[in-house]
């Protein structure tokens, strides 16, 4: 579930968890690891992705959020 943390880039600074508008990310201070603790509470706003100083975050959009695309029916 979103967001996706690139572990090679993440330095566990915790900034994304600090600014998440819905508190769905947490920094596990003991394990020095960033976790997506409440993935189903993600708003997919992308604040973490935008603000990550390491560029370590990408978003995945779950299928519960599928957008509905349809070509205009020119025959009608």
């Amino acid at each position: 579930m979103p967001p996706i943390i690139n572990r090679k880039k993440c330095i566990a600074c915790g900034y994304c968890a600090e600014i998440c508008p819905v508190d769905c990310l947490k920094l596990d201070k003991k394990a020095k690891k960033l976790i997506v603790r409440y993935p189903d509470e993600c708003w997919h706003c992308g604040a973490c992705k935008t603000d990550c100083p390491q560029g370590a975050i990408t978003m995945r959009y779950p299928l519960s959020h599928m957008m509905l695309a349809f070509p205009p029916d020119k025959e009608m």
Partner: protein, 561 residues
Amino acid sequence: MIKVKNEIVQCDFLVVGGGMGGLEAAIAAAGAGANVVIAEKHNTLRSGCGANGNDHFVCYIPERHGDDIELAVREVGNTLDGGPWVDVDMTRVLLRHTKEVVERWESYGINMRPTGKYVFEGHSLPGQQLYHLKFDGKKQKSCLTKAAKDAGAHIMNHLLINEILVKDGRVAGAIGVDVSEEEPEMVLFQCKAAILCAGLAMRLYPQQNPTYMFNIPGCPADVGSGHAMALRAGAKLVNIDIPNVHAGPKYFMRGGKGTWIGISSTIDGKPVTPYVVGKPSRATGDVTADVWPSVYFDKMMDGSGPVFMNCTDLDNEDVEYMRWAFESEGISSIFDYFDQRGIDIRKDMIEFGAYNSDLNNTGVEINERAESSLRGLYAAGNQVGNVRGNLAGAAVFGMIAGRSAAEYVKTVEHQEVSDLPVIAEKEKLFSAIWDREEGAHWKEPASTLQQIMNDYIPAMTPRTENLFRVGIKYLNDLKKLCHEEMVAENSHEFMRCLEVLDQIDIGEAVAVTGRHRKESRGRHQRLDYKFTDLTLNNKFMRVHKDADGTFHMEYRPRRMK
């Protein structure tokens, strides 16, 4: 037992919610010499509906719009920043102050002129002047946070306010909870004045994919706690019986409908309203979603839906412009989604849906000084009932509240708060939730609340006396069970538990006032009172709750001049 902070936090002016209204209130009050604390549930750098940006700011700039502010008041009244549920004099107050806010924001580093000059686009009916300033709000929250700190305001992040304390008929303090660590800590505040800027009541109704409660257009952290606190403190709210409906992409729920350069179209690609003739443009777009947001639901009901946002006539340049505008507005995830899934909006239309009510701009009644009916309590932003303006409304009335409060706090003394009975009651409730080892996770009542609201106090389908009666009973049953059974493992879950209790309070007020309105009007449609009562034209329904929990409703004239 819930941990309780030893010291009481003392300030002149407590700002509840560090969104756009709250930060503006803090800047104004601290700038005028008041001792200001901002309590923000998350972090003011990225919180609330403006967390990631905005791209339109309704404003009146005489050099652009001419000297006749009355024309602006009338025309803005026909946009999403006006409508029938605002006092016209408040729109005038709003527009009198927008220019100074725009200029001040520019001085903070917010990009109000991305192209080098003021550009106004969208949201207006054809033939009217344009009033919505296209700006780049990506950095709005960091800039305003810095300005608030520079002005001397103290920011307490990860601290939610749960109750406004009232003594001798005026604000005396507040009860908060620090959720910055795993264990929540109750914090008492002593203040002379407070402002509620807690935003919308999201998550009150189920949305288009109810399994995912956070798949919603506005910030899911905004749950109407400000409405609930105002109600419990005895302040007057207006028009909370009237549901508002929003619109946007279906299943991937995101605000910002006005930023789409496209036409609301039926399956054949043809417009559903006469608002756009020919190709949509950046300047005019299609105002349908603004002025008839329920069209996407209504057309499903009459068999002529679904309705799509049709951007298939756009050229590449316009599509890239939309991408930029979405980023400015903080909804870049829409194009991120298109990119990831290979959706080309020049080939495919995107189905839109009507979004269920979120109590946008129905709430606390304020006057031209942004005062509520309770002495020392102010309000601004989306939780205010009788003025809109959205982002600009939050900013202007936040600023006005800050100025008013800075004067007010000089005229009153602090009051002792530690002896107020509500503090012991809250400590008992908090301890019960925290100490319980087994019980109801917050999502259990949160989902039931949405179901009750949808089935018995609906916003999209008709209402009746019987539905209201049983709905009120069920909500009170749910509240009692929450008190008896809710459990939290950490401060995050504890926060969610308190949110549910606030939501139930505000849901009950929607039901009680809806039941009181014995007519059909707007989206308040009653099967048992199908007519529109003409004697209620241009009347607002006020509600307040007295100390014993009784609701009192009255109609008052809408201020038309």
